[in-house]
Amino acid sequence: MPPLPVITGLGFITSIGQDRPAVLRSLRELRHGFEPVEFLGNPALPVKVAGTLKGFSFPTTNWRDWRWPDRFTVDRELIRGLAPHGVYAVCALQQALAEAGLAPAQLTDGTTGLYCASAGSAFMLGNFLQQMHETRGERGNPMGIVSSIAGTLNFNLAAHYKIAGAVCGFVSACASSSHALGFAMDEIRLGRQQRMLVVGAEDLSAESIVSFSSLRALSHNPDPATASRPFDRRRDGFVGTGGAVALVVEDASLARQRGAHIYAELAGWGQAGDGYSVAISHPEGAGLREAMRRTLAVARVNATDVDYVNAHATSTPAGDRSEALALHAVFTSGGAKPRISSTKALTGHGLSLAGAMEAAFCALAIDDGFIPGAAHLEEPDPVCAGLDLPRTSLEEQPRLVLNNSSGFGGSNVCHLLRRPT
């Protein structure tokens, strides 16, 4: 039997829950994770809502001021090199390892690798550079670089967990952690690693979210109940969130040998570029369409076999339209009609975190036997006519689930997850 990557552990620090039972409840009951927020102490800003991480607080860049829920442990030696999203990641990875029944000592023999994704921390980097300018380069926090640049997650987690296998970070904006998971699947398939830890995370800060205001990409809707409404005719932009999700991916034979619970098999993945714009998706979703087709081809699956698609749809007018057209091309035009929803209606858009978070949601749907509904959808965009967007979560057991992600520059990545046989 060739190696087959399977998911054996999941950890969540998300706006809709900070452990598996809470996330499951939110997905099943379509409970969103949004709160009114005020960025930069400026009530004039039109961005009023975010997917918040309850019980976490990062009021300054000084780690001594940071707070997290009591049930999580973050070593002081570790925290000095972390950004806020590193704290989320540590908490999520602790959960995932516990779920998978793995002790840290089992990760150090070189058969376990670590792939991560985040945009780095503009919050930490801004402070570090401000200090550099104030001292004209004469003084700086020794941890300034490793706590802020893209790669901060893999630097810190690999050192802390003494990972001797493959270690890398992925940067493709909102497809980043989907790339991390896809290439982690390849490490298993190619026999290079027996186990991969995959972590996606992002800060929730003005620096990470409000920056998108300059692109006119954020919702100005102040109502947490409707601000994020992918595929709805009245959608006006995305709602930002942060957090972390961790997945333990193992070769199926190793997982079975250990008696580990298998959430889902990872049947294949694919990617394709738009070749179109630095920041706008292709108007017909050309890259995403091709990424979906390649994923199905790699897994030797017909479009009609797919039961559920977790769409990338972020609630932006242009992006959701492109994805709807791509979904029509891959599915509707061939007579396929999978259930489709974007769970960003509940979580908000986690940027680099999004792909791993939504792959984990897909694994939960397969494991728990349900399909997340299309929350907050009241008036579907006419471009969605013919797509099956259930308004409530459904008690249906999906066998094959597709997870879509798209990032800046037209990076499109899809995963296909399968119910374990």
Binding site: E35, P36, V37, E38, F39, L40, G41, A50, T52, F58, P59, T60, T61, N62, R64, E77, R80, F123, N127, Q130, E138, R139, G140, N141, P142, M143, L204, S205, A206, E207, I209
Partner: protein, 127 residues
């Protein structure tokens, strides 16, 4: 409403130095205040030990103040070069001094550090 203000620190109410030491124990903050008004660097020991406590990789079994002066930072207390660099940065920032790489490698023990900082700090004018 949740505030995601991330307003730059330090707050206007605190001086840069007060901001730097606001997390240290009260005894250390009082010692620093005595140094600022009296100018005697000999009173700085509680400040130094608090800084070391903040960055020590593994907690010391005994309070640092009770350890012999020849206790070695790396071999006995578990500091690595990165943690020492953090202590140096904190001291540079707090005392407004510059410490070169050559000077850092001369500091091996608690006494070395204590003597080095005493010699290095600029003594403020007494009020």
């Amino acid at each position: 409403m949740k505030s995601l203000s991330t307003v730059p620190v330090p707050s206007a109410a605190l001086s840069h130095q007060d901001e730097s030491i606001r997390h240290l124990p009260e005894a250390a903050r009082e010692a620093f205040a005595r140094f600022q008004t009296g100018g005697d660097p000999a009173v700085l020991d509680p400040v130094l030990f608090s800084i070391l406590d903040d960055y020590i990789p593994r907690a010391s079994a005994r309070p640092l103040a009770e350890l012999p002066g020849n206790t070695r930072l790396i071999d006995d207390l578990g500091f690595d070069s990165l943690a020492i660099t953090e202590v140096v940065f904190f001291a540079e920032d707090l005392f407004g001094i510059n410490i070169t790489n050559e000077e850092i490698v001369q500091v091996a023990t608690l006494d070395d550090l204590r003597g080095f900082i005493r010699a290095k700090v600029t003594i403020p004018a007494a009020h």
